[in-house]
Symmetry: C6
Subunit: 290 residues, 6 copies
């Protein structure tokens, strides 16, 4: 795979189909599935708001599976790649999203970026943590989210009409965004906004049990621990603990690490460097696992 | 479309003609149509000021249709692309606007940027949110908006006289511009300025009904909701709600989502992350849809 | 014009000769014509200071016409391009001004920048709003404005002696320059400085009548309006109104827009977003056009 | 080695196997070996926190040796390069980590970056001082540390599934990180976190004796010195002294430099430019080596 | 001269010899000629400090003429280019000073930068306003100004011994340098420092008469004017007026402009935008030319 | 030397051997020679701290000569280039230090940077004023200064084991470093630190006499002058005067400049622009040379 010839580039497989051969594991909390489906039917762009690790990525994978694989729509089933995810960061330019020319041998070939692939093929394009992206990317968003539904590809001098199945979905975390990195009103007023939070204790326990192979009691205790740690937010600790870290603690316990030590390395020290907060978490652990 | 050969570049179709085969839907509020037409006749550049989503883009599409398609002028009808829109952003350079050389095979070809295409062909060039563009683009504006009406293309070493039908139109939103991103007086004093605001309730209800397929009562209620939410601006909430979001709410209702939930995801959470403002909006919703 | 071959580049016409086939319209206010001519005869560089839209660009076009076209000097008449204007901006580098190598086919050709063309051919080179240019351009200015009158072209490794007719003219607006963008003393002490202001009412009325086809009364009223609006500067409104905007108002009136509305869109809203100032202007309009 | 031809690039040896032919010297302090092994078995990413020179790099080398060389797992033994280390810095881009195209002769070849090599081959990839890296690298981390375990290689347009043995390990020093260079919660909540500190006196003495060839008494005295210097942290001196510097002092003593001078150049002046702190250290030295 | 072929680049004439065919006009003020000559004989680098337009550039031209053209030294006479001047600015990189590779046709040729040409040929290299240059250029200065007298050309991988006649001369203006743009002590302590100020009135009058063709009385009055304007510095006006501007005023007078108007445009408005200072200067003018 | 062909690049001589054919002149002050030798024998990296012009560069040249030329070690004598110096600055990247690909004709050749040459050949690599370098260079330092002694060359995809004779030596001046440009603890705790100051009066007099050809009395007086000027540091003048400037003064005296004037231009005005400090220095001069 070290050498690239022209043929390779032209025949690149639809590699982004990754991960949706089987139904992703997702437990609905409220009516978010119905609202998303209605928005999708009207092709209204969707914004997912919520804290770190509360399940936004899983939700959009789940919805993509339901819409493209779980329904009877033949034209949806024909879309090879239902979901194309772009993790945004401050060096991500519109060129990265749209595509670029590449010199291959003595020939110039064009390679579509992930947004262009989604627009062309009819996939859901999911821009994760969109406020981290460079500002020039928000421009691409505008023309795709109003009545025009077009993607201008300036470098090729063409304007692409979006595939009828295409939808843009964004996520962002209002909790730790700075003023400088807020969404402009002219951008955010183009999206239906769904808010997410950590799952209720019972559902979180089911997730922990499902993903870490601990028994139901341990899973319930870890979910209870998560709920208590999140209450620390009211005492000045801004971040909660993600479901993922609770699962980590369970996985370490399942491999023989003591529950105190597992909570220490997977929760307490993972969420903070502040010894006060670490001590507060340790006390919660000691209460739940005496 | 993955490979580009020299012929492709030379024969690129006039792709920007998008969207003006049919008359765009626009409801005039005052005499903005007459003023724009008089400015166009004198070829005076126009600046459209106003908040997010109040219809500036639609208005310029509508005027382009009226001038190039709806009139009897044969020379206007001959312009294949009446309107070329550039969504401005801080990485947009004058090169992006004017054009660049591209290496195709072993040949160097020049590709016009959108401004050059408009200047050459006689289109209206609409620079949306112009203060977001890099400063070097304002220079292009100057020579095109005084008695010279020329576009210097430095990279080709030529100076282009603007087509007799060419006009430059800018938009900007005075509400959330920082001091740093204001238009310089030497730029703004080259434009006739038209101010826009959200449409009056009755007209907005007609727009909502037209675009979301809800009945007239629901449309009137949503328009009333929009008016009340915009009054919150007087209580510290700077942004209003765009007509577009009211249409979104209508579309969700039309697909079976309850009106409370629809207003929650399409209005309340879409316009703000501030729980106080969200609560105020919810109270307005409860009043209108008891 | 989409493809560029080597021959094209070599035979590029003197495209900058634009606009001086006929005498530009300029009404002298004081002795600025005589001072400029004396400075030109001694080849002293000239700096034009003054607010937006007060006629600096027109003045330099007028002087270039007088010196190269209106005089009997055969060597001046032989200069094909009397005036080369560069609108400065913060991305304008010395490379843009001096020239660059361009790869054409498999050959490297050199293309002169506008300053080099002026130095070589004996034109007046007018750097408009020079403090906006990148600092490396001021260096080019130094060697051209002392006893050396040379232009070093580092990329070619040559030093060009300026043509005997060459002169450098700069403009800047002291009113809204920040401290960071001031001219360094080592630069500004190389120029004879001419200060400009808006024309007196009678002359401004003549300009408005000449350029907008309104009758003399309307032109006089609009000039009176301009004078009153500029007095607002003493009440905290920093910018005045340019003669150009008064002409715009006249042009709209000539096309059937009411004088109140014409003053509203071409003056009041064009010069400011501040509702207080807009109201003050409206009151002046109501006084003059009762 | 000065010339590179295509064959060279293709046949590049697995050069990163450096340093793990023999077991690295590491003295476990607590249960860090067991916790790391459990995390590795569950393929949970690991974050090592701790001050300068306390042994984090050695620890990860030791664990890589234990897992890939010291175990009976044949598939682990087949991994030619158990550990790939990337020292992060602010100019390190995702391109440096993932790989780039290189023009060799007239052929374009792709060269994997260190992260891609680890993902492909099943190595542990250790990102040392990760908060120093550019933000775009944290994006690479996300997709590799959740259920997807994928590495998107945008420049090739492919997505790589991580080898089953791959694990990502990060280090950072919470002591002197600025607020601007903290790990984002959405990043750090993907890692099990192990905290490190300087070793206890007895173990540090064994390390000093092992690495500097001084006798046990001298090693014990130097370890005691280290402990006392670190207590200065409570008096406003933020940094301690690393074990490495204590070893340096021992090595200078072993080569005939007096212990006072050795502690002066290898400890006192090496850890600070502050004469107050230097004096405090000198007093401690005088107490231990009277 | 528009096309460059390989031969052109190789045979570039020694174009920098500009301006020293005849003896530059310079009036010594004190012993600066003797001190410079002694420093040159010991090859001690020289720093010229002083305000704008006081004659530093003329002085170094004069000394270069004296040393290379006015002396009997045959080896000095053999240096084709006695003085190579570089006007420093913030975009001037070490590459600009040292040289670069240029692709000419299908061949790569190296072109020496101005510093390299001076080092190679034995010229005086004069870096004007050196603190404006990028910091990487000061590094070049270091190795050329200590006992090594070498210039490392990293891009060629060679180190050049300076020609025996080479000398580095710098200028800077301590008056308006910011703290950020000061010379580092490790740089400035490599130079003998000569301070310059405006010439005494009698000498300045001789210069004005020599360069502007006004009679001796007018020249004496203008010199007296200059002295008085410079005293304003004690009243908060930081910059003085350069000799050059006094010459400008004389030249305008010689071309028929009244002396009041000439002082207005060439002095008062040329040195400041501050109306208070302009008024103060006008009063001085009225006193001297009643 | 203007054209570069492939052969030239491959056969580049070991040009950096400059300056060590003869023993550099260095007067040891204390035991710095012994400590450096012991550190070198244990291959402990060395950091030289001290003010401008106190002899750090000379010292490292002297040590390199002693170790590679003055000893009986045959393998040291075989190192063609004992010392490779890199003057650090803020634009120095790791690419400059490690090496880069160069296109020569139609072939790509690799050229080692100075650090790579030292690592490969066994030289001492001296990074002068290391805190001025870009941060990415400190990363190179880390892997070369711990037990690994490796240099990763990312662009070639190889890791180089350091030659057994290689040693890294750094210098920095703690006096005028800003907080932003301090060495990170994780970097500085990898070095044995030797502090330097100006030489005592007697030794400094010997240096002045040796390098400027003045007699012993004058040399002693200049050394006494240096000592007194450095005491001004206690009165708010931060920088002292370097030995180099005292030598300059001696050289000017030896060429007939009066001692007062020589001290004026080579000391007083060379070290400061502050007239108070200049006056204080002048008084000291008047005392010593009455």
């Amino acid at each position: 795979m070290r050498t690239l010839d022209t043929r390779d580039v032209r025949d690149l497989p639809a590699v982004e189909a990754h991960g949706l051969e089987t139904e992703p594991y997702y437990l609905p909390i409220g009516d978010e599935v119905e609202v998303f489906r209605a928005a999708y039917e009207a092709r209204l762009p969707v914004l997912l708001k919520g804290p770190t690790g509360c399940g936004k990525t899983r939700f959009v994978e789940y919805m993509a599976y339901q819409i493209y694989r779980g329904s009877a729509s033949e034209s949806h089933a024909a879309v090879a790649t239902p979901l194309i995810t772009v993790a945004c960061h401050e060096d991500l330019s519109s060129t990265d999203m749209v595509g670029r020319y590449l010199l291959v041998g003595d020939e110039t070939v064009w390679i579509d970026g992930p947004l262009t692939r989604a627009v062309r093929s009819g996939a859901i394009c999911y821009l994760d943590e969109v406020v981290e992206a460079r500002k020039d990317t928000t421009v691409l968003i505008h023309a795709l989210t109003d009545h025009r539904r077009i993607l201008p590809i300036e470098k090729q001098g063409v304007i692409l009409d979006a595939h009828e199945h295409f939808l843009l979905v964004l996520s962002y975390n209002p909790g730790y965004q700075s003023v400088l990195k807020d969404l402009k009103p002219s951008t955010r007023q183009r999206f239906v906004s769904l808010e997410f939070d950590y799952p209720p204790a019972e559902q979180e326990a089911r997730i922990i049990a499902h993903e870490s192979s601990v028994d139901d009691d341990m899973a319930a205790d870890l979910a209870a621990l998560g709920a208590k740690v999140r209450q620390l937010r009211q005492h000045g600790f801004e971040e909660g603990v993600s479901t993922r870290l609770l699962v980590y603690a369970g996985q370490l316990v399942a491999r023989g690490i003591s529950v105190h030590r597992a909570c220490d390395v997977a929760i307490s020290r993972a969420i903070t460097d502040d010894v006060e907060v670490q001590r507060a978490v340790a006390e919660i652990v000691a209460t739940i696992f005496p």
